[in-house]
Amino acid sequence: MDDPALSAAIAANRFGLGARPGELARVGEDARGWLTAQLSGGAPQLRGATLRGSADILSQALKLRHERREARAAAEAANAAVVMKVAQLYLPIYVDETTARIGEALTSERPFIEHLTYFWTNHFAVSVDKVSVFGIAGSFEREAIRPHVLGNFTDLLLASTQHPAMLLYLDNQTSIGPNSQLAQRAARRGGERRFGINENLAREILELHTLGVAGGYAQADVTSFAKVITGWSIGADRGPLPGGGVPGQFVFREQMHEPGAQTVLGKRYAEGGMEQGVAVLRDLAQRPATAHFIATKLARHFIADEPPSEAVDALARTFHESGGNLPSVYRALIGLKQSWAQALAKFKTPGEYIISSLRGLDVPSQYADKARTSFALLGQRIYAPGSPAGWPDRSADWDGPSSIMKRIEWADALGQKMGAHHDAAQLAPQWLGGVMSASTHTSISRAASASQALTLLLTAPEFMRR
C-alpha cells in the first residue's frame, strides 16, 4: 500500500505544477482520484482580454511584410523601419500571451491538465527565436494544442501540422511540388527560379511528432511525404504565392501541390489534394511506433528519466488500443504502479521550478507579468526551446553547475523579497508533504531570518525535484 502523504506530494508536484498552500490537503488520501477528476470537463482555456487569434495577428504581419517588400525596393531606411514595425507588433503580443499562460499556471485548479498542455506544446515545438513565429507561438498553443489536450492524438497532430506557426517554423508554406502547376507554368515561362520541395516539416513530423527517429522510416519516405504536403500553406490576399485563402489562416494551394500518388512507409496514397496529406497523418498517428514513441516521452516526463519498460509498454498498448484517445492514456498513466513508486524522480526544469515556487507562495495571477523575465533568466524562456525537438527532458540537461547556482541566486532574491510575509516552517509541509526530509526541516527551523528560511525551503533538494 502506498503512503498517502507521499502519493499526494507526487500528484501535486510531479503531475501537477507544484502544491499551493492547502492543495496537498485537498488531494488528501486519494491522489489518483484527484488527478482523474481533472480530466473531466473541457480543456482549460486562457483568460486574457487582449489575446488575439493567429490569423488576426498574421494578417497584420503579412501586410507589414508586403510593405517591407515594397520598401526594400525603395530604400534601405524604409525597409529597416518596417522590420521594426513587425517587432513592435509581435513583442506586446508575446508579452500578453506569456503573461496569460503564467497567470493560469499560478492559480490553476487543474494543474495536471495545464502540465499536460505544456508537455504537448513541447512535443509539437515551435520556437520564438525564429522571428516569424514570435508573435504566434502563444496563439499556436491556444488554438492547436489546448483544444485537443483532452481529445485525440490524431486531431492534435492535424491541428498542429496545419497551424501557420508550425508551417512557418518548419518552412512548409513555400514548399512547392517540382511537377506542380506552379512549377510547370514557371518552367514554360523560362524563369530562373527552380521550384521544389522543402523537406523540413515532413522529416520532423516523422522524427519528432509521430514515429520517432528509430520508427522505421527512410530518406525516401521523408521525400515522398514532403511531396504529399506540398501546398499546405498560409493564406494571403497578395504576395508571391497564388491561391489567396483567408490571410493568416491555413490554406491548401492546389497549384503548389505535387500531383500524383506517393508511397510513404510502403503504403500508396492516391492523389487526393489536401486529403492525401490528411490520410498520411491519420495513418502515422495509428502506427505502433508512434504509440511507443509517445508513451516513452510521457513516461519520461511523468515517471522517470529512464522509465521502466513495462510502464512504457502499458502506455503504448493503451494508446494503440484506444486509437490515440488521450484521456485513456492519462488514466493508464495514473493507474500505473510505477508512477507512484519513486518520489522526486525528476529534476525540475527552470520553468517548473519557477511556477512551483510561485504557486507555493500563493502568488496571485496579476503578478504573472513580473514573473515573466525569470524564465529567460534561469534558462528557459517561454516558447523558445531553440529547436523543433523541444526542451530536453533529463536531469543532466538541466542540472549543470551554473544552472544550479542561478536557481539558488534566484531563490535567494525571492526569499529576500517575500520572506517577511511568509513562514517557511509552516509552508514547508504544505509544499513537500510526505517527501520532506529531516535535514530540510532542521535547516529551515534553524534559519537566521524569515527570508533565509524561505531561501532554504526554495533551494531544498526535495524542492529542486518533483
Binding site: T174, G196, V213, G379, I404, K406, S439
Partner: protein, 426 residues
C-alpha cells in the same frame, strides 16, 4: 552588504564545514599542460558548400544556382584557399589565419553518423561513438579522464562548458565546470554555507554547487577584483558576470553575438590555474529556406562566427599560441538547393581547426566531387574523411592523450580511424 571575497569564503567554508572539501575540488589549480583546446559546436548542420565553396568543382555552380559563391576575384567571390576551394567572403579572419598558417580547413568530413536527424547527429558528434545514444558521456570528458598524470598536476576542473548546463560532449566522470552570465545578485556567505550543508547528503547537488563555486573563484581571480557583491558607482549590486564582462565593454570590442561567451572563454583559458578545455555552442545553422549566398542569412551568421573567432584571438593574447580551436557541426546539407532557396539535411560537411598551435595553411580533403554519381545517395556531399581521425590527431598531439585511450575509451572501437598526424605544432 559587505563585500566578501569569494576565495576567502571558499577557504573558510572548506575548513568550517568540511563538506565542500570532501565532495569536490574547491578551485582550479596550476600546473599541468599549457595546451588549450576549444571545441565549438555549430548546432543545426552547417552548409559546408557555402562556408567553404569548392568553386573549382565543375558541378558546383549548377547545383547551387543563384546562391553559388563565385570564384575568387569576382564580386562577392570566395576568398581563395587553393585552386579548388575558397572560404566564404564573410570569413575574413579565417582567411587571414590561413595566410598566417594558423588554419586547417577540413572538407568532405563527417562523423560516423549516416542518417539525417539533427538530434542523433549531435549526439554522435558529442558521444564519440559510432551510434547515437550509445553512451551517456562525451569524448572530451573521456579524453580529460585519460590524460597522463604529468598533464593533470592540478586539483581542479580541466574542462569548462560555457553555458548553464554541461553538454553531452563534456559529461562524464572527469569533473567539469559550467559557466554562464548571471544577472542575479550573489548570496551572502551564511546562506550559501547553509545551502552547502543542506546539500551535503545529496551527491548531485553538492557536486554541482561546488563546481559552480570553483568556477566563480576563477572568474574572480581572473577579474582581479574578487568581491562577491561588488558595488558599482551608483551603489547597485553587480553580479560576477557583469564584473567579468566589464573590461570588454570598456574596450569597446565589436558587437559580435558571441562576445560575452568569447570573453568568458578567454578569461578562463588565460588564467594559469584555470581550465584547459572549453566548449561552447553556436546556434542557427539549419538553413532550410532563404539561405543566401555571398550575402544573406548564412553569410551573416558566418560573419558573426568569424568576428567571434577574431575576438577570441585578441582576448587570448599570448595564450593564442598554445590554443587550438576546433569548429565542427553534426552533418552537412544537400548538395543542391531545395525548392525554398535553402538546403535540407545532408551528410559530409566542412570543419575548421584554427589557432596559434595549428600547423595551418592547408586544406585537408579527399575531394569526392559533386557529380551526380559522386554524391552520397544521389544528394549529399560524400564523406571521405572521418571526423574522429581529425579529433584524435588533435587530442594525441596537442593534449597528449595516449593512443590506446583514444582508440578505446575516448572513441570506442575506433582503432580503424587513424589519428591525422601533424595537425598541431609539437
Amino acid at each position: 552588504m559587505t563585500a566578501i571575497k569569494r576565495r576567502d569564503f571558499l577557504r573558510g567554508a572548506g575548513l568550517a564545514a568540511g563538506a565542500l572539501l570532501m565532495t569536490s575540488k574547491i578551485a582550479f589549480a596550476g600546473g599541468g599542460t599549457r595546451a588549450r583546446l576549444i571545441f565549438v559546436i555549430l548546432r543545426g548542420a552547417l552548409d559546408g558548400l557555402t562556408a567553404v565553396p569548392p568553386y573549382g568543382d565543375p558541378h558546383y555552380a549548377r547545383l547551387r544556382g543563384e546562391v553559388a559563391i563565385a570564384a575568387p576575384g569576382s564580386n562577392g567571390g570566395a576568398l581563395k584557399l587553393d585552386g579548388l576551394f575558397g572560404l566564404h567572403p564573410s570569413l575574413a579572419f579565417l582567411s587571414e589565419c590561413y595566410g598566417a598558417h594558423e588554419l586547417i580547413v577540413f572538407h568532405a568530413i563527417a562523423s560516423p553518423y549516416r542518417e539525417r536527424s539533427h538530434f542523433d547527429g549531435q549526439d554522435v558528434l558529442e558521444n564519440g561513438c559510432a551510434h547515437a545514444h550509445a553512451v551517456q558521456t562525451g569524448w572530451i570528458n573521456r579524453a580529460l579522464a585519460a590524460l597522463p598524470p604529468d598533464r593533470t598536476a592540478r586539483r581542479g576542473e580541466l574542462g569548462i562548458a560555457l553555458g548553464q548546463n554541461v553538454p553531452l560532449v563534456m559529461r562524464g566522470s572527469a569533473p567539469v565546470a559550467s559557466w554562464s552570465p548571471s544577472h542575479l545578485a550573489a548570496l551572502d556567505e551564511d546562506t550559501l554555507q547553509r545551502i552547502t550543508d543542506l546539500y551535503s547528503t545529496d551527491p548531485v547537488l553538492s557536486q554541482r554547487l561546488a563546481d559552480a563555486l570553483a568556477t566563480q573563484s576563477v572568474a574572480d581571480a581572473a577579474q582581479g577584483e574578487p568581491t562577491l557583491a561588488g558595488a558599482t558607482e551608483d551603489g547597485a549590486q553587480m553580479s560576477q558576470a557583469q564584473l567579468l564582462a566589464r573590461p570588454a565593454q570598456a574596450k569597446g570590442k565589436s558587437g559580435a553575438p558571441y562576445k560575452e561567451v568569447i570573453h568568458a572563454t578567454a578569461e578562463f583559458l588565460r588564467s594559469d590555474d584555470g581550465p584547459r578545455v572549453a566548449v561552447f555552442d553556436a546556434l542557427g545553422w539549419d538553413t532550410h529556406a532563404n539561405e543566401g549566398g555571398a550575402q544573406g542569412q548564412l553569410a551573416a551568421r558566418l560573419a558573426n562566427l568569424d568576428a567571434g573567432l577574431r575576438l577570441l584571438k585578441e582576448e587570448l593574447g599570448p595564450v593564442w599560441r598554445d590554443t587550438v580551436v576546433m569548429v565542427a557541426t553534426e552533418f552537412g546539407r544537400t548538395a543542391a538547393v531545395n525548392g525554398t532557396r535553402g538546403t535540407d539535411h545532408g551528410t559530409a560537411a566542412a570543419a575548421f581547426l584554427v589557432g596559434g598551435a595549428v600547423r595551418g595553411g592547408r586544406v585537408i580533403a579527399d575531394w569526392p566531387g559533386l557529380s551526380e554519381r559522386a554524391l552520397y545517395q544521389g544528394r549529399d556531399l560524400a564523406p571521405t574523411l572521418n571526423l574522429h581521425s581529425a579529433l584524435k590527431g588533435v587530442l594525441a598531439d596537442h593534449l597528449a592523450v595516449p593512443t590506446r585511450a583514444l582508440d578505446a575509451a575516448v572513441f570506442p572501437d575506433s582503432a580503424a580511424a587513424k589519428p591525422l598526424p601533424d595537425l598541431v605544432h609539437a
